[in-house]
């Protein structure tokens, strides 16, 4: 791995963007700033996917998350929050219990990461993954793939029914 001495620098930069934005989502007092920080996390995660040789998933992440879910979230924020109560949206019912839960689960994760022995393979050359993903979707994973379209259709119809007033009454 001599040709990729740039790899650690890019990794640490992307990891910093991802983690700092995630902390921004969690700690920002303004829900709108949280949504903007969420964009940083999603883009940083997409960069990390590229570093993991997952080109197709990175593109899907940007299309679906940044282009779809984030825009939807921003719309929902603008439709529901009044100017007066955006800043108190983070008034917690108890930060201390949350930190205790965080410490407990964080301890479990640190222990798992340090002590588990995972099956490691030789890292492959980074090749385009679309061929393999497409073949797997249409052979081994054909049933979940078709069910996914049904789930999305149900979600689409459900969202329309939930948000149209005349249909709810």
């Amino acid at each position: 791995m001599t040709e990729i001495s740039l790899f650690p620098i890019v990794f640490y930069a992307l990891a910093a963007v991802t983690v700092v934005s995630a902390l921004g989502v969690a700690f920002s007092n303004n829900i709108f700033y949280s949504a903007i920080a969420l964009m940083g996390t999603l883009l940083g995660a997409a960069g990390l996917y590229v570093m993991l040789a997952a080109d197709f998933v990175a593109v899907v992440q940007i299309f679906v998350y940044v282009g779809g879910i984030l825009v939807l979230t921003l719309f929902a924020i603008n439709l529901t929050s009044r100017i007066g109560d955006v800043s108190i949206s983070n008034r917690s019912l108890g930060r201390f219990p949350a930190f205790v839960a965080l410490a407990l689960s964080g301890g479990v994760m640190v222990r798992a990461i340090r002590e588990a022995s995972w099956n490691m393979v030789e890292v492959r050359e980074a090749v385009p993954t679309i061929n393999g993903i497409g073949n797997a979707f249409l052979t081994e994973y054909i049933l979940p793939f078709e069910l996914a379209s049904l789930v999305l259709l149900a979600a689409l119809v459900g969202a329309v029914v939930l948000s149209r007033k005349e249909l709810r009454d």
Binding site: M1, P8, A15, V19, A22, A26, I31, S34, A35, L38, T41, A45, L48, Y49, A53, A54, F56, V57, V60, Q61, V64, Y65, I69, L72, T73, F75, A76, I77, T80, S81, D85, N90, R91, S92, L93, G94, A98, A101, L102, G106, M109, V110, I113, W118, M120, V121, T129, G132, I133, A136, F137, A148, L152, A154, A155, L156, A159, L162, S163, R168
Partner: protein
Amino acid sequence: MMEIGLTHFLVVGALVFLAGMFCVLTRRNAIGILMGVELILNSANINYLAFSRYSSMSYDGHLFAIFVIMLAAAEAAIGLAIVLGIYQTFHTIDVEATDTLRL
């Protein structure tokens, strides 16, 4: 400098997960809680792809990540539609104020 490996990506995933968990636990704004759920799903995706790269020879991790993204899209659409419905009924999306099933 230490070579970047599986552990580094797992640490990033764990930190994003903890941030999402804190968000879910402390927010009172329903949209904030949904954003915390998005963070948690992303941390799971980072782990899936890291294991797919470093400890597997197949594309199964990629497929799971795509299914997670698909379900996250469905969850966001339904969740935000429910939040908008709650807002029309209660005129607030504070999850502590919305404690009745019907008016």
